[in-house]
């Protein structure tokens, strides 16, 4: 019973304590003290009618005690006032509706994602303070040592204190710009979980789950926001495919080869509904919504042959107008090849390569390899795959590229020895 209260209220209590006390570490200690007191006292008195208010006012009072006792906290609070005891306790107990606490959680998110912090720090702080992951779990997610992550968090909190980063939700003129930063953090967490950039794991389901939870929280706190809806839809539609993405041996299974019966239909249904809402919400069209619409088209196809590639091409063109980027151009080229053939796709990719922006991107060379292979230019395809392998860091992706190279070598050998090659060139 008490456990359930803790799980439900922990994040909200922390967010409000940070606002009241103006300091992360002090607020964390205060929350800890409050929960300890709750365990002791509620055993005798039962859970109070408004447990959240109880925890907050207890936490605040314990913090005041701490400040008196602890020189470090005293020096940090120096120069700022903590609201007077009586006025605050009364205010806190009056705030029985969710909106005030919702505001505090939003404040906390915007603070953790403040542009004056490095993006590394933003992600680490959000996972620790908003999602409540332990420092160890955050460290593991980013494949750094616990001490390194602990230091990163310490430095981030120090920057907040030293530079005077406020615990506030930004005002309307800045709001739209700042929300983009928040969404970038959430998407950063998701992509880190969806395609881990180093090492042997292909996906980290927990990180994807945390990102989706953050997306839901943002939707709750900022309803009818097209970019938020779009991002949540995008994450759900990608996550729905996760069960089909990795083989038992930990190898990559590309979208076109996935067993679609393994896709999570509940996430797909929810994602599709969110895409509709995102696209129909007034306001500037968000790139997340467009990306989600593309994911929706993939997911609507029962079999890969039913994929509406012409529409996907159109959506990539919309996306390129909103947010020109070499990676999106590459995806556009692949989609175009599905409609107009490998030669056309190769032209687009070679034009991209000619501009010299993404020559170290392994997927660019892998795409060239695919097109060249489809056009029967095996030697060049092999070279392209080898170049890709040189830039790929993920174990499963490297194995996939190595397999492609091996099969091309086999095909070339077969052709050179004069044996008829019946295997479907594009089916490797």
């Amino acid at each position: 019973m008490v456990e359930e209260v803790f799980r439900r209220e922990s994040g909200r209590v922390l967010a409000t304590l940070i606002r009241l006390l103006g300091e992360f570490d002090l607020a964390e200690e205060a929350r800890q003290d409050a929960f300890t007191a709750a365990v002791e006292q509620w055993a005798a008195t039962g859970v109070p009618a408004n447990p959240r208010a109880w925890l907050i006012s207890t936490g605040r009072n314990k913090a005041v005690d701490r400040i008196r006792r602890d020189a470090v906290f005293r020096s940090r609070i120096q120069g700022r006032e903590i609201a007077s005891a009586e006025a605050d306790a009364a205010a806190v107990l009056d705030e029985s509706d969710d909106s005030a606490f919702g505001d505090d959680r939003l404040r906390l998110i915007f603070t953790c994602c403040h542009p004056a912090l490095s993006s590394e720090a933003q992600i680490a702080l959000t996972l620790r303070e908003v999602c409540g992951l332990t420092t160890q779990a955050v460290a593991r997610a980013f494949l750094v040592g616990e001490e390194t992550m602990a230091q990163r968090l310490v430095r981030a909190k120090k920057k907040i204190r030293d530079a005077g980063i406020p615990y506030e939700t930004p005002e309307p003129p800045l709001f739209n710009q700042r929300i983009q930063g928040v969404l970038a953090v959430v998407y950063g967490v998701f992509t880190e979980g969806y395609a881990v950039t180093t090492g042997t794991r292909l996906v980290d389901a927990e990180l994807c789950g945390e990102a989706i939870r953050l997306g839901r929280l943002l939707d709750e706190l900022l309803p009818r926001n097209s970019a938020v809806l779009g991002l949540l839809a995008l994450m759900l539609l990608h996550d729905a495919r996760r069960p089909a993405r990795e083989s038992h041996e930990g190898d990559v299974i590309l979208l076109e080869d996935q067993d679609r019966t393994l896709w999570d239909q509940a996430k797909i249904t929810e994602g599709l509904a969110l895409v509709d809402r995102a696209l129909n919400t007034p306001g500037q069209l968000s790139t997340y919504a467009v990306q989600a619409a593309i994911a929706a088209l993939h997911v609507r196809a029962q079999r890969k042959e039913e994929t509406d590639w012409p529409q996907i091409v159109g959506l990539y063109e919309v996306l390129l107008r909103l947010q020109p980027s070499p990676v999106i151009e590459l995806n556009h080229a692949v989609a175009v090849s599905m409609v107009d053939g490998a030669a056309r796709g190769l032209d687009l990719v070679d034009s991209l390569r000619g501009r010299g922006q993404v020559n170290e991107y392994h997927l660019l060379h892998a795409a060239r390899g695919r097109f060249l292979q489809q056009l029967g230019r095996l030697r060049e395809a092999g070279e392209a795959y080898r170049t890709a392998l040189g830039f790929a860091t993920l174990g499963p992706e490297r194995r996939l590229l190595a397999a492609r190279i091996a099969s091309i070598e086999k095909m070339s050998a077969a052709m050179n020895s004069g044996a008829a090659c019946r295997s479907d060139v594009s089916g490797v």
Binding site: Q78, G164, I165, P166, E168, P170, L174
Partner: protein, 117 residues
């Protein structure tokens, strides 16, 4: 909280401006400075002579070394500053964004240690 807003820009590019451009920028700075004085944010502010007029002093092992020029060669050079009073970093960066030099150079926003108690 007090913040020092350090105005950096590429001196060579500045030197190449037409008199009309210079006049217009000067007017913008006058306007801006008046604004933050009225808002009670201004504490101090000055335009610095260029790095060609700079001298660097270092004392090592009791020896005073005086050299011509800024402390280091940088792509953008310090050209001026404002010392402002602001509620928090967001207010300070909002002020910095309105400094005319922000459009062509960079404004470094440095919080100042409060005076020792």
């Amino acid at each position: 909280m007090q913040y020092l807003l350090l105005i950096y820009s590429n001196e060579a590019e500045l030197a190449g401006r037409s008199p009309a451009t210079i006049a217009s920028m000067t007017a913008e700075y006058t306007e801006f400075t008046k604004g933050i004085i009225q808002a009670g944010q201004f504490k101090a502010g000055d335009r610095l002579k260029p790095t060609s007029a700079a001298t660097t002093v270092r004392v090592r092992n009791g020896q005073v070394a005086i050299t011509d020029g800024p402390f280091a060669e940088t792509r953008e050079q310090l050209g001026g500053y404002y010392l402002v009073e602001a509620k928090n970093l967001d207010e300070a960066t909002a002020i910095a964004a309105r400094i005319p030099g922000a459009k062509i150079g960079s404004i470094e926003v440095r919080p100042i240690w409060p005076p020792m108690a």
